[in-house]
Symmetry: D3
């Protein structure tokens, strides 16, 4: 069986979170899949605003470029805002899947509707934008924030897991949704526990995206290069970003 190399990119610089995400991806990957979990050497330590998200993209793209050199077969963007997804698709020769995208796709395969449980209230707008862009605005019943900063999710001394589980349960009742989508890569390790607690499918995008990339690779499907997503043409970049010249 051919070995498939998937790079799972955490677009923030929090190394502990990257490792956690890597573990979650490896837990579901096929035996023939090698998961490489990386994060950029530059940018925000967590992504909690449009500002953070925009500034995570150069680092993310640097990782994609590194993956191309290393021969990666496909990529997961492991942040629920799916930052830089379009740009990444231009750069990568293999498929690229975002975790919000992946989770929402899976949710519509196991029920009519889903709700998202995420970190900070200020990010809910982005989740709605993504649902609309992917065609799932009608399936998305609600986006709810637990008001826990991203980096606290990992903190063993915090009660994040409990708070998230409680909000998921409350959301199922209030929204009448068929499933819950976890709205942060930092919640990936909560998935099994929360699932048991709420009685509906609970979906972690890291795991789903890993399987989707695996599937696309095995099917020989990669981003169309016909027009919009063709590799970017040669271009002079200057200043701080001069190394991004193509």
């Amino acid at each position: 069986m051919t070995r498939t190399e998937i790079w799972v990119i955490n677009p923030n610089t929090a190394r502990a979170m990257t490792e956690n995400i890597g573990r979650c991806a490896r837990a579901v990957a096929a035996p023939s899949t090698v998961v490489t979990a990386v994060n950029p050497a530059m940018g925000p330590e967590s992504i909690e605003s449009h500002y953070d998200e925009a500034l995570s993209v150069p680092g993310l793209l640097a990782e994609i470029a590194a993956g191309e050199v290393a021969g990666a077969d496909g990529y997961v963007i492991a942040c629920f805002g799916d930052p830089g997804l379009d740009a990444a698709r231009e750069l990568a020769s293999g498929p690229v899947v975002g975790i919000a995208e992946a989770a929402m796709h899976a949710a519509t395969l196991v029920g009519r509707s889903f709700s998202v449980v995420t970190t900070l209230a200020r990010t809910t707008g982005r989740a709605w934008d993504l649902a609309a862009r992917y065609g799932f605005a009608g399936a998305c019943r609600g986006v709810h924030a637990c008001d826990i900063p991203v980096l606290e999710l990992d903190d063993p001394s915090s009660d994040a897991r409990k708070v998230v589980a409680a909000l998921c349960a409350e959301t199922v009742e209030r929204d009448g949704c068929d499933s819950i989508v976890l709205g942060c890569a930092g919640m990936a390790s909560f998935c099994a526990d929360v699932s048991r607690a709420v009685g509906v499918p609970v979906i972690d995008g890291v795991a789903v995206a890993t399987k989707l990339v695996e599937s696309l690779v095995s099917l020989g499907l990669r981003t169309s290069t016909r027009g919009e997503f063709a590799p970017p043409g040669p271009k002079r970049y200057t200043g701080l970003l001069r190394d991004f010249s193509v």
Copy 2:
């Protein structure tokens, strides 16, 4: 590695087509996946109208029921109209994915837009209905018919493969779409050839649905039983359909 049993159900009664579909599913399935390709003992020999489609559903549901007894882990509905999908989800304990659904999901992961190339013009309305239902009406640029009846696709003496490839190429030009979705399970074996010819991803729903079911099973995701898709309650069925009593 756990063995995954996927039943790929061709909802018409054409045995040769079922075998062809089974081959296509097996070609992409993981080593640990067992594909069982079946078709109903009752109903239409091909599905080319709403009438055919509606009448394919009892046989399809009988196969799902048989799969449940046999311990199937998940199901593919291998007809591009995704007949009986909602009912099948109520009946099956594992995930159920239709091939139109699967192909459209994959198409939106490899580009902004897709067009569908299908058999008869009278079925294009159904394809649009499904695109709308799944959230992909905005991504679907066109649905085009090659005017070849379903059962002729398989006929080695027909030039179906050539006609379909030509229509796919023409569609890419006319619609400016990023990928092509093959709109009939009977075209599954054309996928690689057509792909080479048209220069954009060509997507066969049988293959994609097989990978999606595999993925959902490995992630422990199954249809939500919270409300709409809970198993149907006990009910008296009479007459010809008396054996469908739950």
Copy 3:
């Protein structure tokens, strides 16, 4: 004045309900209209899931076929899921109208918005699907379940009528809707009572569909046979459903 023969088909096998539906249709039909109320000899005794609905369609189509032989001018499908509507339109030479469709059309003629009051919570998804399909998703403010099984609606010893009226009144307050659509053929006989109670138009699809079919017949309008809804071509059917061969 020409006699118009309308077949009102209850797609479940509950004969008492069929008679009730027939009475409601006759109460509004023109003097020159003959209402024939029928139900299939096969299938579920009530329709409360996607499974039931899918399996009601063969029997429904058999009744349409019988109506064609008997010279029916048009048909009402008297179940709020509008089961088999597309297939029935292919088979029938005259117009076919579903009661959900009919009620929603009427509701948009007497106000900006409506809400649906239906039987079981698991059927609300189907009502939303139909509203979307018919173009009325924006006009539909809510779909609410009274949690009374279909066959209990008719039971004189049940307080169904009271429960439904109370839910309608509550819905008008909560949703601010201009009218109420009764979401089950089994509620047809409640219409006048509930109407008096809630102070907004209360719409029973059986009555409206009967008038719409009458109107279409008198206008000489029937389903377009240009493409999608042309009569199904000849096709071999096998097994249990062999008699459905065209």
Copy 4:
């Protein structure tokens, strides 16, 4: 059988057109229906712009007020822009139906899609607005102008009937629509001829609206007075329009 009094209001001042419209309505009305065809004593002689349409409304509302005094049971607004429909619904105690609305409703009952054939190109925007408002934007495949002024349609020396029939035939081919909606009350008398020529249902809103009002009256359904469409409260009107004070 109770007598039903329907006022069919042509909102322009062209008396010949009013009589023609009255004939078309009477041709389909039930024996127990009395059709009164009227037009305002003020306003534009034909409606071919937003300006004309806006200025047709006071005269139309004066006719509704007269109908109320005369005991009309319901109203048809016989101009394809459905001018003043919301205001008329506030004023009338019985149902009010516009002919664009009526025709589009009927079209969606006899097929998936329709196209509109209308008079002047500058009115096509209004037709699209109405399709969107009624929920039928997805069903409307096109709106095409024959470039014949409204009052020329009636002129026996013109070849309007031929031109309209030819445009309808061309539209069916180009748009692949299931039916044609005639986009002007002045085309009502063309309906049967054009129908024969094009092989799909051709729908005249005057006839359909007459049947819909008849149906709503016989069902006891009238505009909801719960909120938006309650009768307008007392209000001082001054100047030229002083007689419109309520």
Copy 5:
């Protein structure tokens, strides 16, 4: 600097309200802009129903015609229903902007979402219609009525300002909207006070529309006369409205 002449038309006949509106427009106009605030000599003294709105249009159009004679460069329609906007655009050679339109445009430039606070509940439907027409249905979180009649807003002895401010604050909490749109020209003078009270942008359409018309005029942008909005052709008008002949 060229002088710009903007006519701000209050479509009701309440002169005090017109003066108030004029003051609000002048407060934001550029030094080189001359604001002429007018109201019709005919029609309703306030606009609180579809009936009032329809009957405000002839007077409004008469003011546009007067403005054209006087050499106005552009127009504001200062009623939140944007009555007669399409007709006014046909008649005016310069740009015409409605205050609902203007306020909603501005709201989408300062946040993702807005809610409308308006006068009577029966007008909320019209606000939703406008939001949909302008493309802002997705951005509009709610439309809420304070149940104060239009002419009471101006009454110094009323507590209208307080009631409106309280409803705005409540709406921000309930809807989670980024801004508030004031839904009546009669609230224009409340804008600054309410803004201070609620902590989000509060938007008065009179002020915004004045700036938009100023901007369009200075950019040389006027309504396209290519088709739909070309000047209305010559037409005979009769009766009360004979003076509207073009």
Copy 6:
């Protein structure tokens, strides 16, 4: 009259283009407005892919930060992809308007529909995304590419101006649109010429955005800081982007 300081930011590094953009903004600005035209010191020299666009954002945000220090009252983002708009709104205390956004808003004020004429075909997807996001997908009739690279637009020896004008004229005919939106800041100086050639309003977003920012500033309207667009919280940034720490 208060002085208003508007920073017009060209997000690419082409200084000549920045100067051209500055001239176009100054040509329409009010006497009391000071336009500062800047471009980043880092990033791509032109923006012609998602990759370029993503990598233009850090430089753009650095300019916003510099503008805040310098006391800018508002900002124009002068690239038709509106890069970094959400992030810029979080960072800026005054209003921020993108030129695609501005042009589309203006287009809907002067007609029902517009089409976009842009540079490279691969950017048309982004234009459609923006139209959808801003609520104008229904108003946008088409997006057409002239296949001229951004930096060639400025080249006096190229026939860019002629090619663009010809494509605009062709687009008006083909799409039947009411106006043309120029889809690149590099076309700003073509606006007057093209306008004369095509007979419908031709809209340059640089000019419109300048007037919109001026208007918002004079109205005291700035981005809502209630939730999503509140200033980003303090956050550690590392590596190349360490200076973006808040």
